[in-house]
Amino acid sequence: MPEKRYKKLQTAAELNKLLEWHYTQAKYLRFGKPLAWVTSGAPVEILRAMGILALYPENYGALCGARGAAATLCAVVEGQGYAQDLCAYAKSSLGAMLVPKQAPLGGLPRPDVLICCNNICGTVLKWYEAVARFYDVPLFLLDTPFLHDEADTLPPHVVAYVLAQLGDLIEFLERHTRRRFQSAKLRETIELANQATALWLEIRELCKAKPSPLNAPDLFVNMAPVVVLRGTRECVDFYRRLKAEVAQRVAQGVGAIPRERYRLLWDNIAIWPKLYRFYNLFVDYDACFVVDTYTGGWSLQLLGGDPLDGLARTYTGVFLNQSLQYRARRMIEMVEEFAVDGFVMHSNRSCKPYSLGQYDMKRLVSERTGRPGLIIEADHCDLRAYAEEPIKTRVQAFMETMVQS
């Protein structure tokens, strides 16, 4: 019997239950609570503090991809005039609204409000506009100006702009959901969010161990709670148990893959429909992805002081709202910190802000670290942009070079 390429985490079952609860609650157990759809970079802490439930269409898009439903849903939306090259998360979510019976979980329940923060891309605005028109529900845009300049501190006028909009957001939520905002509640929620993000950061740091206790699929699967349940007690509890299990792996010298000979860094969102199959191409060469640029996006600590000011600064300064110069520098740091032998960049057709500039970043990171890089052209959801054989050949060629050097 061939050796299993994946060591399943014991917390996996718990993770599934937690996510199932998350979706079920929003659909069937709301008890009158208002429901918001929010983008992955929205300051959800404010909503939670007001007792508003939040669902993440991006997470749902990933789910559609992982379950192989994205292609069908995208085709439905393309039939309505949406171009084939638009984000497959967005199209999967719109497809699920049009044909919920063909969609995982029967689609997401109708939102009462939409909260869109453009700190991750401009696409989310267009996506949420389409959702707002479809359901005829109010949309709030939180506009976080992109940071082209690598400054040590955020420009004051940018912070002031975002902070003022957070006030508008609270007013918007109070008006449309009839929930009251309380500062004390927000502090509690931020405290819970900080506990979860700190644990998630510690878990990621544990991957500096050799062998690494986690591989990319583990990181991608286990990031879900810190994205969609950040600010809840359940989220903190989950990461406590996950951290204990990961720490135990490290203590016992147990790696995520059977034999770790090469340590790699991953850039961009996962190829969800091929999550295991794709990374297994590397496991065949004893290569483990010990760190990535994506799942760390939710390990930022909300800054102290005035909670709204902290939220404004944190959500404006996220990885994807910063220049490619900044992102290259972070990658270079990760290469050093995690003792990485090479890096793989997913040129993700669905995600231009994440992918444009990768060709230059690959050169920069290689020049600075001496580590080889590989770029894979694919998509986070849509398998029509995934050419199985050419990808396999490229991965093999990259790994053969590494083996020989």
Partner: protein, 383 residues
Amino acid sequence: MPTDPWNTFAAVVADPYTGWSARYPGQRACGVLCTYAPEEILHAAGFVPVRLLPLPSPLPESGRGRGRGLGDTSEAHLQSYTCSLARNVLEQGLQGRFTFLEGVLFSHTCDTMQGLADIWRLNFPSQFVATVVQPVALASPQAQTYLVAELHQFIARLEAQFDITITDEALRTSIRLYNQNRDLLRQLYAVRERLSSVVVWQAVTAAMLMPKEEHNALLSRAIGAMAGEAAIPADSASPARLILTGATLDDATLLEVIEAAGARVVADDLCTGARYFDTPVAVKGDPIAALAQRQLQRLPCPCKYRSLDARAQHLLALAARHHADGVIFVLKKFCEPHAWDYPYLAAALTKSGLPHLLLETEQTTPVEQVRTRVEAFLEMLKK
């Protein structure tokens, strides 16, 4: 006899960048990539803002640029799923076509321009590269304050970089000059039915490529000369009246096809069209506040958010005002913001009984393909 203004515009658009400095001696140029660029500020700083466009023009003799050396092409920097505007403009930069520019100003618009700005900064290290990050939430009560501060920051950067002082008086002079240009372009559009659409497109596009003072003088003379002229005869008794909507129109192919088929463009909602010159800047009060205010009040592009139906309302009003028979969507392949707006705009037009056509374009779209689609659309309009 003075040169014919229309010929000058045509010549500028046919080859805008080659020999720019020789054509406008003593002028300094700064590239811009969007109609949201605060051109008055650049002008007050002593520059001519020059729009970088994927216009078809002859290759420069030497392929040496300020980029990473010979043979460096845009494919080495941008994925194949990037729009032709970004790819072509970077290509021209790498070929050395933009060495006459002392700087390049990006205006944060879409995800692609965001990426291109950083790529540019990295690959043209000796060039002054800046971005004014425009607010997206146009209706936000805070957008004006933010944009004023962002513009002040840009002014401070220009002043430090070029060792200059940009005074309010200089800004007011530039604002007047640009308002005059906007007013002339508005007059041009008012008489556009007496002109070929190609000529109109050349005139408005040339406005983005040459010194404003000169463009104003030429356009003023051209419009003045039209007084008393009769309308150009149409090929058919009642030509179909069309509106074009989209991003930039990068060549005249579509316009030529439309006119050859006996139809006429009566209005547009394009970056190289009405969206360039709509809404004047207030001349009273603080000039920076006035510039910011115009950006927030302009006809929105799809990268900006004012309300869920602002663009549809505008398109329908435009169609009603100009008695349009149909609308053509000119959609650059991989242009996400416009691709996202297409289904909802198309649905709004359909609901109002206004026929429309989607034309997807690439850097070089075969003319036969355009002709077939446009002719079929015009046939449909007749029925």
